[in-house]
């Protein structure tokens, strides 16, 4: 095996996460997810609700809820397996090397602490700075995330800020220690479209200035356009296709990606046409407690073959750093 640990910042290999609810059957949320992220790269994860996007985000920081268990696989960050690291070392990594921008900034900030002090706390837990240096650091960060009057923002409470401002505070927290990887879990889905664009611009700018790799997670394909270098499409706990953003939007390979992109682009172009019925993918996502043996998308796929329901399609690599799991591509011995 070739040592790729220098090339890749993060290598997720065959990650399997299962939820064991107190009452009910276990749910396999991630079923063999593999994904590589290079330094300074923006990778987007696209998928509908319940496909395991957020589980992946929390698994990367080893912050799964207590009822979830990482059953198999590895997460190599700079060659170290996060899954086997003790909690103490993980704490040093969280915030300093891998940071999370939380889903809902309104809830992710403590309502009784000032915005500045909450950013300051991140610096305090990782860097040996004195009070003055920390304050200066926070003010610089606030300016960096787009506040023109950081002094005033420093002492405001979260409820006095707008949704976009709160999201900027959360981003300031996340980038405070200059992490190598930023995970943005639905970072803009709570915001309106114009604010979304601003946040995306801000994230791109952070990536340009500091070479931060970003793993962005969203259910909205449009979010990634012009932002992500590569995209991974998730369906029912597995990544079905990874390709550069241009390929995903231009000529996607997997039937699910094709359907998603068709819907996304058609709603942009013909959304105003009242008479036209919006395109949908027929059928429903499979029940996560009893997943099919074969391709997960097979029951809804319009190009399904006999083999699709018998076993899971192997990986086919049409290009470097891209792959697709579909029987339509590559050679198969059946």
């Amino acid at each position: 095996m070739v040592d790729n640990s220098n090339k890749y910042l993060l290598q997720v290999h065959e990650l399997k996460v299962t939820y064991f609810p107190a009452n009910g059957d276990p749910v396999r949320a991630l079923d063999g997810v593999s994904l590589d992220i290079c330094s300074g790269e923006v990778v987007g994860i696209l998928g509908e609700s319940g496909c395991g996007k957020s589980t992946l985000a929390s698994a990367l920081l080893k912050m799964l809820p207590p009822q979830a268990k990482c059953e198999d696989g590895s997460i190599l960050f700079r060659g170290r397996d996060l899954l086997s690291l003790p909690e103490r070392d993980l704490r040093a990594i969280r915030g300093q090397e891998i940071s999370l921008i939380p889903q809902d900034p309104a809830l992710a900030l403590n309502p009784v602490m000032t915005a500045g002090s909450q950013v300051s706390e991140v610096l305090r837990s990782h860097l040996p700075l004195n009070t003055q240096q920390r304050r200066q650091g926070v003010l610089d960060l606030l300016r960096e995330v787009g506040f023109n009057e950081p002094q005033e923002i420093y002492s405001t409470y979260p409820h006095q800020l707008s949704g976009g401002q709160r999201q900027r505070i959360a981003i300031a927290q996340a980038v405070a220690c200059r992490p190598a990887l930023l995970i943005a879990d639905e970072a803009t889905s709570e915001l309106d479209v114009s604010l979304q664009a601003e946040i995306v611009t801000l994230l791109s700018q952070i990536r340009r200035q500091h070479g931060t790799a970003i793993l962005a997670i969203s259910h909205d394909p449009v979010f990634f356009a012009g932002f992500a270098d590569r995209m991974a499409v998730m369906y029912a706990g597995r990544i079905v296709e990874v390709a550069s953003t241009d390929v995903i939007f231009g000529r996607p390979l997997h039937p699910y990606t094709q359907a998603l992109v068709r819907i996304a682009t058609s709603s942009v172009v013909t959304g105003a046409a009242k008479s036209a019925r919006l395109p949908v993918i027929d059928g429903e996502t499979p029940n996560p407690t009893s997943l099919p043996v074969g391709c997960r998308f097979e029951p809804r796929c319009c190009e399904r073959m006999d083999v699709c329901s018998r076993r899971y399609p192997p990986e086919f690599m049409p290009a470097p750093l891209a792959n697709v799991n579909c029987f339509k591509y590559g050679e198969h011995v059946d």
Partner: protein, 342 residues
């Protein structure tokens, strides 16, 4: 609403100051006896004598009726008037146990006596004893509350935050403690422990026992709160930034439990004062010569005394007033907490 709350807080603070500075507010020492005046009824304050109305009240001395065989039959000797004076020098005492002084808020000239709430069987001033006894009883209630809340807070936070088997085993223990008939348990436990202890040992034993039994309810409440706080997004976010458990507990979780602790404290203090009173009433708590509301009421176990000398019920009255004040305070805290949560 606001003025009512302020008035309530002022009254409660006032009550505690009076108890704290009992030596100043009490005209006599708690132990000083007047063997010639057992069960003297409350001294009456007079404003009018033969020469008309006086702004400064005065008292007459009690003379025991020698014809009656039952003590407590007294009549006023009208020959000498003892006017009431404020800020008088009397028996010396230590203020808050440190500063020695002999200044009292009020008093009358010797050989006159002023017994605002009468005297007990040894001729000791009931009013002074209620104040001194209140020091012991309220201090016992507050100390026991602090012990119970400290234990409850620590165990509740641990159970709620760490969850899983820690939670289950700790909550099993709280259920055990909650299901105990606490009064009988308290009596049994106290009876099991040595009877002859110094006053200070008894005090700490008593508060320790009450606090040890009482931690279960606050622990459950705190645990529930921590359980919901733990999954708040800002707690998850803090952990995502590499915060340690200790940090999360200190900055995000403990401050939020403060309102609940305050409400619980206001509820528990009167309960634990009553528990102390009950144990001392049965002779298992603080014993003579140190007065406490409980051992003062203990004298009323004799039926003849209970029916003849109503003024000896003063400690019970003080207990009721204190309990009502604390319950009202708990109400205020509770409504504040409710409005802050919604």
């Amino acid at each position: 609403m606001r003025t009512k709350t302020l008035a309530l807080v002022a009254v409660i603070v006032g009550l505690h100051l009076v108890l704290l500075f009992a030596g100043f507010f009490a005209p006599y020492d708690a132990a000083s006896q007047n063997r010639d005046q057992p069960y003297a009824p409350p001294t009456r304050l007079h404003f009018i004598n033969a020469s008309g109305f006086h702004l400064r009240p005065f008292v007459y001395a009690w003379t025991a009726n020698t014809s009656s065989n039952q003590p407590g039959a007294y009549s006023e000797t009208r020959s000498v008037e003892y006017p009431l004076h404020f800020f008088v020098r009397g028996s010396s005492y230590k203020l808050v146990g440190i500063y020695e002084t002999s200044l009292h808020l009020f008093g009358v000239d010797e050989p006159g006596r002023i017994f605002l709430w009468g005297t007990d069987g040894y001729g000791r001033d009931e009013f002074s004893r209620v104040l001194y006894g209140g020091q012991i009883s309220v201090a016992a209630g507050i100390t026991a509350t602090l012990i119970a809340l400290l234990l409850g807070c620590i165990l509740g936070v641990i159970a709620g935050y760490y969850g899983r088997w820690v939670d289950e085993s700790l909550m099993g223990v709280t259920e055990l403690f909650l299901s105990l008939p606490w009064l009988y348990f308290l009596l049994g436990l106290r009876a099991f422990l040595p009877l002859h202890l110094s006053a200070i040992e008894t005090f700490f034993l008593l508060t320790g026992v009450i606090g040890m039994i009482g931690w279960a309810r606050p622990a459950r409440l705190i645990r529930g709160l921590v359980l919901s706080l733990r999954s708040r997004n800002y707690v998850l976010a803090a952990r995502g930034f590499g915060a340690s458990d200790f940090y999360v507990l200190r900055r995000h979780i403990l401050p939020e439990t403060f309102g609940l602790l305050l409400t619980q404290a206001a509820l528990l203090v009167p309960r634990y004062i009553a528990a102390e009173v009950m144990l001392s009433f049965f002779g298992l708590g603080v014993t003579e010569p140190i007065p406490s509301w409980g051992n003062m009421l203990g004298a009323l176990q004799q039926y003849s005394i209970l029916v003849s000398y109503a003024w000896l019920l003063a400690p019970a009255g003080a207990l009721v007033v204190t309990s009502v004040l604390y319950s009202s305070l708990a109400d205020v805290f509770h409504s504040r907490l409710e409005s802050s949560l919604t």
